[in-house]
C-alpha cells in the first residue's frame, strides 16, 4: 500500500507545468473585487437611476443645485469611482474571453483601463467643480 499522505495531486496539466506560465495569482482577487463593486453598485444604481429620472426637464440652475448638494455629490463620486472600476474589470473579462491574440488582448485591456480612468477622473472633476 502506498502512503496516501505522500500522494501529490497536481491540477495543472503537464504542458502547463512545462511552459511555466502559471497563475498570476490575481484571479481570485479580481473576482472578489468584482463582487464587492457589484454589491456597492446595487444601492448606488437604484438611487442614481431614480434620481436622474426625477431630474427630467429641470432647469440648469436646479440641476446644478442638485449635483452640488453634498449628499448627492458624495453619492455621485462613489457611483463614478466604483462604476468605472467595475466597468474596467468587467470589460477586461469580456476581452479576455474573446480576444485570442496575446498582444491584441493586452492592448485592448490597457485601452479599456485607460479610457475608464480618463472618463472617471473627468466625471469626478465635473462633480467637484460644481460642488466645491
Amino acid at each position: 500500500m502506498s502512503d496516501v499522505s505522500k500522494v501529490t495531486v497536481r491540477q495543472r496539466s503537464a504542458l502547463g507545468r512545462v511552459r511555466g506560465m502559471g497563475s498570476a495569482k490575481q484571479g481570485s482577487h479580481h473576482w472578489w473585487v468584482q463582487r464587492i463593486s457589484s454589491m456597492a453598485l446595487l444601492p448606488l444604481m437604484l438611487w442614481f437611476v431614480i434620481s436622474v429620472a426625477s431630474l427630467a426637464g429641470h432647469s440648469y440652475a436646479d440641476t446644478i443645485l442638485w449635483i452640488g448638494h453634498p449628499f448627492n455629490a458624495t453619492l455621485l463620486l462613489l457611483t463614478i469611482a466604483i462604476g468605472f472600476q467595475h466597468t474596467a474589470s468587467g470589460l477586461q473579462v469580456v476581452i479576455e474571453d474573446y480576444v485570442a491574440d496575446e498582444m491584441s488582448r493586452m492592448a485592448a485591456v490597457l485601452a479599456v483601463k485607460a479610457a475608464c480612468t480618463l472618463f472617471g477622473v473627468l466625471a469626478a472633476l465635473a462633480v467637484l467643480k460644481i460642488a466645491v
Binding site: 496539466s13 437604484l46 437611476v49 429620472a53 427630467a56 474571453d97 472633476l125 465635473a126 467643480k129
Partner: protein
Amino acid sequence: MSIENNARDATMVGRRTDGTAFRRPLSPHLQVYDMFQITSGMSIAHRITGTIWAVGLLFLVWWLVAAASGPDAFATAQWFFSSFIGILVLFGLSAVAWYHTLAGVRHLMWDSGYGYDIPTVQKTGRIVLIATGVMTVLTWFIAIIAWA
C-alpha cells in the same frame, strides 16, 4: 491542426475518439449554445447589457461635464437628451441598466451558493425579466411626472 503558440489555447485542445485533435470551444461560445433558452439567453444578455451600459456611461460623463461647463453646454446636452433620438437612447439605457443590475443580483445570489436547481433558475430568471420591465416603466413614470 497547427502547432499551438498560445499558452491559453493549448489547454483548449481536445481529442476525438479516433485520436485526432480539435479545438474546444471557448466559453461562453455563442455558436455552441442554444441562445433561446432562458438560461443561456439571460447569461449572454447580462454580458451584452454590461457592455452597452459601459458605453452608456459616456452619456453620464457628457451630462456632468456639460453641467460643469455652464448653461450653454448644458442646453446642448439637454437638447440632445430631450430629442427623439435622445429619449430613445435613454429609454434603452434605462432598460439595459435595470436588466444588468437585477440580473447582477441573481449572479450574487449564485456566487453565495443559492438557487442552482433548474426550477429556481427559471423562476429567478422570469422574476428578473418581469422586474426589469416594472422598474423601467416606473423610471419613466417618474421622469414624465418630473418633466410635466
